[in-house]
Symmetry: C2
Subunit: 394 residues, 2 copies
């Protein structure tokens, strides 16, 4: 009779928010980018995906994926590419050591949960594909390094490759047509600059107009300014950002972060037809950061925006009162997401321009307080029971 | 006793709205641009400045300027440059013909009025300086051509040089350090393509954040994408736009107009700190034009935005129902500025996406219906009485 044993392994994976943005594919099939990018990995205590990968001959329905309790399609090219790459590596181990169980031929059951509301409008695909790849690699006991796994996760979702590391992470665009050198590496551990914090301002109407996948390809095809961004602007930003992180120079980190976000959204606006991700509330957050830095007399905060209206504001732990205090002062306690332990200690901080404050108060529906964090962490909390039944996380 | 005779001459001058934008000075003192630009002159029956230039030995207070009933400072470098250039040309005539009255040495009294509300937030400086220069040139009976006068008006306000012609007007950036070849010329008469219409959607909160003069210099100094716009994007747009006008090809005219507006605002967003002129209402106007063109199955409308949130929508007379009808349908009769003669004939036209319609209805405070028109027109309607007293226009 067939072995019905259920093999399983679980991991958590983090969200990352780029400070030098990925926007544009030179190869859509392999998810090869037009430029390198760099991100900060955010703490999993606040934002993480928990994923259990399991396989068993008893999974008669074939490969399956349960995402936040909902069955999710696995037939897509991106998911299939990840399965295929991981199975091939497992099959190579099995060929080399016949004593190993033939997991590569067993159906996969993946169960995944986010600890943050999708309402947050945060790109969860990065954490999702990073967790999926890391969990299957654990299940298959692959000796692969995070960089090697980043090469696989990249084919699931480009920015996912950066979520395989903690701290400060670069995705090198590479040159090879097969993408073999388009991988992520760690610029610095979280412990190198542990004071980095992020305040996410979630804009109410956070429904995305144009998907990033189609949006970035429209930009590549139609923006007259895009070529300049990838050939000249981004390389300068990458070099300057790696230096700023090495030197723990927040003023430089902040200026490049803000300039790169502006440059990215400028190429979106230069796309034909134009793509607008930022709205009047996003722009109010930009002005708020400018006013906070002006009032502080130094750079204490930096804004960045992904393919949506939410603002992510980076700052250092010692400037919490100036940055978080000011936004708490404006948004007030009714907006959910504040960490009371931090907020309770804050004196009412500097006040913002009335128009800016009104736009933020009317347009921000929740906040997330977090900071730089670690990469994927193996866990014994499984979302698949020993008998193979999916379970909810504790 | 001194001759107290009052010499006077009057003109009207039009507003122009660029379809290839002027943004950036290579010489701030001489108002020399970083790139050529091209505009459509709008009909003076809807938007015009009426200016009377007068001079008399009896003007004991020296040179003066009355703008819409308010005394206006003439000591600014830009106004002084115009006065100096015009007086020098008059002085040369007087030197060549001693029988001419010595007007060049008499104090100037300039009285000027716009027929459109400043609330419209339309750049009135272009019409203003064009009228000022044309009126004084008439007063001094200078033989100067409009192109020669454009060289003087340019020093008052860059885009003013394009308001010395009707129809379709190019401002050639030129090469000479002294600006002697940075002049306007007429690409085509209004009569070459008389069907061109413009609908201005005036956004309620039309107060300008950053003045164009300082804004464009910040862009030149800080935008990493700007160099690409002036070296590659604008030259292509100029060439394509002149061809589109020559061929009366509205689809090409419209695409270049929209792409150039997008490119201009993209370099504003790429400025550090970023400059935002368009707001959520402006972006709704962009989507509305896209929806109108999609519904029509061809390009019938083109949006363009200057340094503010107002949308200017170009279309052809035969498509009035599709374009004006749709906006009238959404904005309704309570928004002022509709031309009843045109509106009354229109059937309710295609309807826009609800979110877009709501933003427009809430954010557009008035409209202006106009079209391509003529250049400055000499008039006997004077804003200075024979005795030199300022008077209001009839």
């Amino acid at each position: 009779m067939a072995d019905t044993k259920v093999y399983r392994a679980s991991t958590t994976a983090p969200v990352n928010i780029a400070v030098v943005k990925y926007w544009g594919k030179r190869d859509a099939k392999l998810n090869l980018p037009t430029n390198s990018s760099l991100s900060v990995t955010l703490a999993q205590s606040d934002l993480r995906t928990l994923t259990t990968a399991s396989c068993s001959a008893s999974y008669t329905e074939g490969d399956s994926l349960l995402l936040n309790g909902e069955p999710s399609d696995v037939s897509g090219a991106r998911t299939q590419a990840c399965f295929r790459e991981l199975r091939a590596r497992r099959a190579a181990l099995e060929a080399a050591d016949p004593s190993l169980p033939k997991l590569s031929s067993l159906p996969l059951r993946i169960v995944s949960e986010n600890n943050f509301p999708t309402a947050a409008g945060l790109a969860s695909s990065a954490a999702g594909f990073a967790a999926l790849v890391r969990a299957i690699a654990n299940l298959y006991e692959l000796p692969a390094s995070p960089s090697e796994l980043s090469l696989i996760a990249r084919q699931g979702s480009g920015s996912a490759c950066r979520s395989l590391f903690g701290g400060y992470v670069a995705w090198r665009m590479g040159e090879n047509p097969d993408g073999s050198d388009s991988i992520a590496d760690q610029v610095a551990e979280a412990s190198h600059w542990p004071e980095m914090r992020a305040l996410v301002l979630v804009a109410s109407a956070a429904k995305k107009g144009v998907s990033s996948t189609s949006g970035m390809q429209q930009t590549v095809a139609t923006s007259g300014l895009f070529a300049e961004r990838i050939s000249r602007v981004v390389p300068q930003h990458m070099e300057g950002m790696e230096r700023a992180i090495r030197d723990r120079d927040f003023a430089a980190f902040a200026e490049i972060t803000m300039r790169d976000s502006n440059s990215f959204h400028a190429t979106c606006a230069d796309t034909y037809p134009p793509i607008f991700y930022m709205n009047d509330v996003s722009r109010a957050a930009v002005r708020a950061v400018e006013q906070i830095n002006a009032a502080a007399g130094r750079t204490v905060a930096a804004y960045t925006f992904d393919a949506g209206p939410n603002a992510v504001i980076y700052y250092l732990e010692q400037d919490t009162e100036l940055v978080v205090g000011t936004f708490y002062h404006v948004l007030g306690g009714e907006v959910p997401g504040w960490k009371q332990a931090i907020i309770s200690g804050l004196k009412p901080s500097l006040s913002l321009d009335e128009g800016v404050a009104a736009l933020l108060k009317g347009g921000i529906s929740r906040v997330i307080q977090t900071g730089v964090g670690e990469g994927p962490i193996r866990t014994e909390e499984h979302l698949v029971a020993e008998d193979g039944t999916p379970v909810k996380s504790a």
